[in-house]
């Protein structure tokens, strides 16, 4: 062994090199406060190792970037750990860099003769920030896509050359394949190479001047190896443990595949850029323009930091005090702005709803990709574009939620609000003016129709048309309108309530409900075939017990039990709504297109007619399939039921009319 080392030594000088590397003097003894630089080098090495691995499985194009990252994280062996390490170590690097910078300034390690090394450090910091910025886009998910859009648009605000800088970064006038190839080349090739180069210079110059030691008499001098290396490696081990634990127990998020056509209201930069994000939102800053807030101010701050060695030289000790005060003030500002951003987001219901939707979409995209059909060649983005579970809620919020609600919310989890009574008054929760479609067509829905008709449709009584009609009729008019309290159906329900609730008919009601629910054909529920048949008899023949016997649904709704016609027309329509496959996909599609048709509720129905000009066939299909559960089943947690919140908000003390909320 020794012979081998000697052999190598005479030919390469390896021993002298090792001696040089490890026997650096540490005046005043090894200290914990010297570890930060080493942890940064370690984190960079960690990023190289995990980065090369990710590179071996990453594919930069708009049709494969999200897909390959999904594949890494959810299919490949230890892929979630490798991506997690890379994800969290990147953030760790920014934190460690901030600590390193603050320490260098506090300790005056930037002063002569170390100015050049200080500047080298600032260059390194810029490179690391560039790495985190370029890396954020690479998964090509909604989060990275929209956050990076903001950054490249800020580039565009650079005076004189802005547009050119942006086009160069994007590889064209817009985002596409080339944006990814260019960002990837920057992230995995150009910037790391620069970083290695500057890091070598940084360490070389550092070695030339040695540690900045305040108190060389504190302890006897020692050498880098092993005393300081021990402390350094313990610190590195701590960093490793933190990022590894995070990677294991908090997998990095992969939000939905980037889709320029789908809004992403939850867009935020990575947390360590949040302070800048928050700074840009101040009205005073906003009014001065993006160039001022995002380019001039950060430029000035960086300029002040870079000029610190000169400040200290010119102003002496006062300059150093000034520099220390500045970095503390800056750190405080960053912390305060970051906390403000977090606090405001946490208390912003809209942002929270957007976040919920972002998580839901992301998990759904992953759930569909894991499926046996894998990902189509057109990319995972099409999985969501054609998914009722994803787009149904959005279409509901857009088209239906001005009157209807879905479990109390607008389909996307948010309560619907309207402006307060006066201009200054805060907005209030708006009362629904049509049925809540949360349980549309399920057993509870059918039970409510049979047993609790007036109450089930009570939301309608909040509408203007209902009140107008009531007022007109009270004044002696004859307006024909839908009145949940007074119609043949409402009268049948209320008139027969005792019989329906009687013990002898308990099983019959259950059977009828089972039949009605089964007729909807909604996926995801199994029905009791015998019960369904019994219910069919009840509906068509009216084989009830007691006084109800002989009253059948079919005596009014003559098409009940039949298939919904493919070409419905009203030539044979009775004056009663058709119940042929009521609440099924075909029925609902026809109802939305023709709510005023005689086969439904006729001209008195106030529901808006959704023509193909208003709601395309494709969107109608997505919406209706969502409402009838015709989609790949999902285990993604859905939006929370808001009915209780809605009911509480509309309670008697509130300004909204309440008689119109269904009773529990």
């Amino acid at each position: 062994m020794i012979a081998l080392i000697n052999w190598l030594e005479t030919r390469t000088g390896v021993k002298a090199l090792m001696h040089e590397a490890f026997n650096e003097r540490v005046p005043g003894g090894a200290r914990w406060r010297y570890v930060w630089g080493s942890t940064l080098v370690f984190t960079f090495v960690l990023q190289m190792i995990t980065g090369f691995m990710l590179w071996s499985a990453y594919s930069p194009s708009t049709r494969t970037a999200w897909e390959s990252v999904y594949h890494i994280q959810h299919e490949m062996f230890l892929g979630n750990i490798i991506r997690g390490l890379h994800h969290y170590a990147a953030q760790g690097m920014v934190v460690l860099m901030a600590i390193h910078l603050i320490q260098v300034i506090i300790d005056g390690a930037y002063k002569a003769p170390r100015e050049v090394n200080f500047w080298l450090g600032i260059v390194l910091m810029m490179i690391v920030l560039g790495l985190s910025l370029t890396g954020y886009l690479l998964p090509w998910d909604q989060k990275g896509y929209y956050a990076t859009q903001v950054t490249t648009n800020i580039m565009c605000a650079t005076p004189v050359v802005g547009r050119e800088v942006q086009v160069l970064a994007q590889g064209g006038s817009d985002y596409g394949h080339l944006t990814l190839t260019r960002f990837f080349a920057m992230h995995a090739g150009i910037l790391p190479t620069l970083l290695v180069g500057f890091l070598v210079l940084h360490i070389y110059v550092f070695r030339r001047h040695g540690l900045t030691v305040h108190d060389p008499k504190r302890a006897p001098d020692t050498t880098f190896w092993p005393d300081q290396v021990l402390k350094d490696s313990v610190a590195c081990l701590a960093v490793l443990a933190v990022v590894l634990l995070l990677a294991m127990f908090r997998a990095p998020e992969l939000s939905a595949p980037a889709d320029p056509a789908v809004k992403f209201d939850a867009a935020r930069p990575e947390w360590y850029f949040l302070f800048l994000f928050r700074f840009l939102k101040f009205h005073a800053v906003e009014s001065l323009g993006v160039t001022f807030g995002a380019i001039i101010v950060p430029g000035i701050i960086m300029g002040i930091i870079a000029a610190m060695p000169i400040t200290a030289k010119v102003l002496g000790n006062f300059g150093h005090t000034l520099n220390r005060a500045f970095i503390w003030a800056l750190a405080l500002g960053v912390v305060v702005l970051t906390l403000m951003a977090f606090y405001e987001d946490a208390n912003n219901a809209e942002h929270q709803a957007a976040l919920t939707e972002a998580h839901r979409d992301g998990q759904r995209a992953i759930e569909l990709s894991i499926g046996p059909d894998k990902i189509p060649v057109e990319g995972a983005v099409t999985l969501l574009r054609e998914d009722p579970f994803t787009h149904g809620p959005r279409l509901f919020a857009q088209h239906c939620s001005s009157c209807h609600r879905f479990n109390g919310h607008d389909g996307r989890g948010s309560l619907v609000t309207e402006a307060g009574k006066t201009d200054e008054a805060p907005s209030v929760i708006a009362a629904p003016t049509a049925a809540d479609l949360g349980g549309f067509g399920n057993r509870q829905w059918m039970t409510a129709i049979v047993m609790d008709y007036s109450n089930h449709f009570a939301w309608m009584k909040n509408s203007t048309w209902f009140r107008d009609a009531q007022a007109k009729n009270a004044a002696g008019g004859t307006v024909d309108y839908i009145n949940p309290d007074s119609s043949e159906m409402a009268d049948w329900t209320s008139g027969n309530l005792d019989a329906l609730q009687s013990a002898e008919n308990a099983d019959n009601v259950k059977a009828l409900v089972e039949f009605l629910a089964a007729e909807t054909g909604h996926a995801g529920t199994t029905y009791d075939a015998a019960l369904v048949e019994k219910g069919r008899d009840l509906a068509i023949k009216g084989s009830w017990a007691g006084a109800l016997n002989g009253t059948s649904c079919a005596s009014c709704h003559d098409t009940i039990g039949q298939d919904f016609p493919t070409q419905p027309d009203d030539s044979t329509a009775s004056s009663y709504p058709t119940l042929a496959k009521y609440a099924s996909l075909a029925w609902l599609k026809d109802f939305i297109r023709h709510p005023d048709a005689a086969r439904h509720y006729g001209a008195k129905n106030q529901m808006v007619v959704y023509s193909p000009q208003k709601l395309s066939d494709k969107n109608l299909d997505l919406l209706v399939r969502w409402l009838t559960h015709d989609y790949t089943p999902s285990t993604v947690p859905d939006y929370a039921n808001q009915l209780d919140v809605l009911n509480a908000a509309l309670a008697p003390s509130s300004s909204v009319a309440v008689e119109a909320a269904p009773k529990k």
Binding site: I49, T50, E75, L85, R208, D221, S369, P372, K374
Partner: protein, 214 residues
């Protein structure tokens, strides 16, 4: 430009003596330090190494097919794939026919539906059974051509030659052409007189004398 600043001495210019520790403690510290330094690099490297071995370590999940209800699937559970040509298309005189095999293809995260997955040679002598060969040369994986003048299969890469029954004609290839199982069917059901040609399309390891399915 050494030591221009009087208040901050640069290291390396002067060398006051360094405290000497007791050898035993120093050795222990060195050992622990060495182990820790090794550990912080070994952990991420090992994890990364295992990640890189993913193609060997991971079991692949089965993919679905997209056959519509009532339609005879293009592929059966035993792995036989229906060809686009029927018995009539194969020349009576024994001339081989090149056919592209269409199947679903899974590539990492993607599912490609009904795409060409390979090419085979079909051959029939008189009313005898239909033979199917994988057109990939068992030598090093180039594709084998049919040379009409010589009436043989020939690989242009390294001059492997095979007779029309697939037997190797020189010592370049390690084995005969790979014969594929053929099944004649009607509407997907076994039928010796059927016109549909179903082939169990497989690729085999190259450069070995044994026929090993990849």
């Amino acid at each position: 430009m050494t030591s221009t600043s009087p208040e901050i001495p640069t290291a390396g210019s002067v060398d006051p003596p360094i405290s000497v520790e007791t050898p035993r403690r120093s050795l222990l510290v060195q050992l622990i330090t060495g182990m820790l330094s090794f550990l912080i690099i070994a952990v991420p490297s090992t994890l990364s190494g295992l990640f890189f071995l993913d193609p060997i370590l991971r079991k692949r999940k089965a993919a679905s097919d997209d056959t519509a209800d009532g339609e005879v699937p293009r592929k059966d559970e035993a792995g036989f794939v229906r060809l686009d040509v029927t018995k009539e298309a194969v020349p009576q005189d024994g001339t081989p026919l090149s056919v592209t095999v269409i199947d679903d293809h899974v590539d990492a995260w993607n599912m490609f539906r009904d795409v060409p997955v390979g090419s085979i040679w079909l051959r029939k002598v008189g009313d005898g059974p239909i033979l199917a060969f994988n057109s990939i040369c068992p030598h090093l994986g180039c594709s084998v051509d049919y040379i009409r003048e010589e009436n043989e299969f020939y690989c242009p890469c390294h001059a492997s030659a095979f007779a029309l029954d697939g037997k190797k004609m020189n010592d370049i290839p390690p084995r005969d052409l790979d014969v594929l199982e053929v099944s004649m069917r009607t509407h997907g059901q076994q039928d010796a007189n059927g016109h549909e040609i179903w082939v169990k399309f497989q690729n085999f390891q190259r450069a070995t004398s044994d026929k090993i399915v990849i």
